[in-house]
Symmetry: C2
Subunit: 374 residues, 2 copies
């Protein structure tokens, strides 16, 4: 994997870059739609690509359980399995073990957990997570880390940082590619712990660095400040990835703080619940006021949903829980997110990231742009 | 609406025709995918059209309840509402009243029923059903009929024929278009009653004739014989529509008996349950044997699903209940049905409908081809 920084925003830490992988190029800052079980919910791969997405994320935990990494490997890897001919980032499975498994126990060198599907017991060492990700044929693999929910006691956060560093070191030692490997910085909301974690992870040395443990229970403003604080600790020449975040304004804040990669289930999950992202804010398409509204969801949107369908039709589909509802809403929301990323990239190139932020989210200056310290 | 008979199969009653409506042309024999609530489940309109479907069916009962005919009329009719720019046939709502409503009571000139959604009480006269279908902007409207489940006592079947004729007469009297109006023949499995019903309905005179009350509880062979018996009673120069039927072999049988139009939920509903139609028979894509099978569901199929995806991937999606499962399976099944109709139309043109039937379903000669009487 190659990462080039092509330009910088003159007044913020925002960067315009390009990731080159063996499956193609990703313009950064980039947003990755989430394809949990080797499918972005309700989307055919070409529809995902048509929104402008250049890379997706899939979940190692889910694919490890079903259909199993060996099945996907036999079939030529994840790209062929799901017919997605562009880069794929796989998470380590850690986050799902912590959030979904009905039982898990952390050992010195592994996490032991029960499947949320059938209760079968599994033991994942950092090496096992990487082996699964290699079987999947991931373009960017993530190290197995420990991500405590917030708030957590300081000792717990410290232990998580220790374990994350220890596992990152083991991961680095066994890693032979062929994809890239990203380390993950933990440390919760403690600035000092974030500094220690970043120092240790950067010292081990990875192809890119992720900021983990953000938006796991803490408030939005604190998350934004921790992100900015952590991003500034990471080497300039490597891509920075903020895991699992976020709303359009959170993404803008993080870009301003120097983050390059994002993933989040918001645009896809909310779509299935009838919530559309628009420039004017969130739109609950089920509202009575849209019952006979012939306008597209968003007047100036160029997506196929807005091009072909009215608010009234989308309301009807959502209210009657038609399958097509989630599909059309997802197309719109993914387009919205990709359009946001296109505007962000242009704004960086033209040195007007601040203006974009002020225009889109006036009055919500983020920690990074206020120059605040934590 | 215009209906031309273009050619006939030399050795069966099969006919190759063309329906021309103000929204376009339909080559017959034709299969209409079901778009119950103004959407074929999980399909965007252009995807339905891409399968080769030239006309769809939507359900008056469902659209009357949600979003309401007046909403759809305000928005310019059903075609614009759902962005389907080809012919639409609407049913009368009767069948759903009988099968879904938790309460219904038949009066001399109306059916009174409670909504299965909120229990509200409604009264539908034949005129009301037509008014709703006109508001929707239907290309082919159906008269409100009475369709008793089978088996039913002879008096019940007789009463249903009486009521169906009475309502058909009222419908004909008030009908002012602009679309076409089809009458419906009832009579259950009683050949004499079918003859009386057909005589009465044909005497009233409609743009086309439907065979109702088939596949509502009776066995397949009897259904096939009743269909053939009834089709032969209908005027040559008008389209004949077998409502709610059926499997590929049932459709072939009915075409051989001279039927022109079909609708059925089988290809779409079964798709969502993981059942694919193939030339080799039904395929349960969830079976363990497909776990790592790299082949397309059907080797020689030209549909986008078979072109892009493996059995292993489709199995994975179906087993994990991914939204994309129903979508990809529906695309295949609708393509399969439309491909069947294309082959049927070619076979009629070339005078080899019998051969097609024997090739596809050897040993299952239908009543019509056996020349049986009931």
């Amino acid at each position: 994997m190659r990462f080039e920084l092509m330009s910088r925003d003159s007044r913020t830490a925002g960067r315009r870059g390009r990731l080159t992988t063996s499956h193609g190029v990703v313009d950064t800052p980039a947003f990755m739609p989430v394809g949990t079980r080797a499918a972005v919910r309700g989307m055919r791969p070409q529809e995902v690509a048509a929104t402008g997405a250049q890379m997706i994320l899939t979940n190692t935990y889910h694919l490890f359980l079903r259909p199993g990494a060996e099945v996907i490997e036999t079939l030529g890897g994840l790209h062929r399995f799901m017919n997605w001919n562009a880069p794929i980032l796989t998470d380590s499975g850690g986050y799902q073990v912590y959030s979904l498994a009905p039982f898990r126990h952390l050992e010195h060198d592994a996490v032991v957990f029960r499947s949320h599907l059938d209760g079968t017991l599994h033991r994942f060492r950092p090496e096992d997570s990487l082996a699964v990700q290699v079987s999947l044929g991931s373009d960017i693999a993530m190290v197995l880390d420990e991500c405590p929910a917030l708030p957590s006691a300081k000792t717990e956060l410290e232990n998580a940082v220790d374990r994350t560093t220890r596992w990152a070191r083991r991961s680095r030692e066994v890693w032979r590619g062929p994809g890239a490997l990203f380390g993950i910085v933990q440390g919760g909301t403690d600035p000092g712990l974030r500094e220690r974690s970043a120092r240790e992870i950067v010292e081990i040395g990875f192809d890119g660095y992720a900021i983990g443990g953000v938006s796991v229970g803490e408030d939005r403003d604190l998350a934004s400040r921790i992100t900015a604080h952590t991003a500034a600790l990471l080497p300039e020449e490597r891509p920075r990835y903020l895991m699992g975040v976020g709303t359009p304004s959170e993404i803008l804040d993080a870009v301003i703080a120097g983050v390059d990669l994002f993933d989040c289930v918001l645009p896809t999950r909310n779509a299935r619940n009838g919530m559309l992202f628009t420039r004017a804010g969130r739109m609950n398409i089920q509202r009575e006021e849209y019952r006979a509204d012939p306008r597209p969801p968003e007047e100036d949107c160029g997506c196929p949903t807005c091009h072909n369908h009215s608010r009234a039709y989308l309301r009807h589909l959502s209210v009657t829980r038609e399958m097509l509802s989630g599909i059309l809403n997802t197309i719109h929301n993914l387009h919205f997110y990709q359009q946001l990323m296109r505007e962000i990239r242009s704004a960086i190139e033209e040195g007007r990231l601040q203006e974009l932020k002020q225009k889109r989210y006036p009055g919500s200056a983020c920690a990074a742009t206020r120059g605040e310290v934590i």
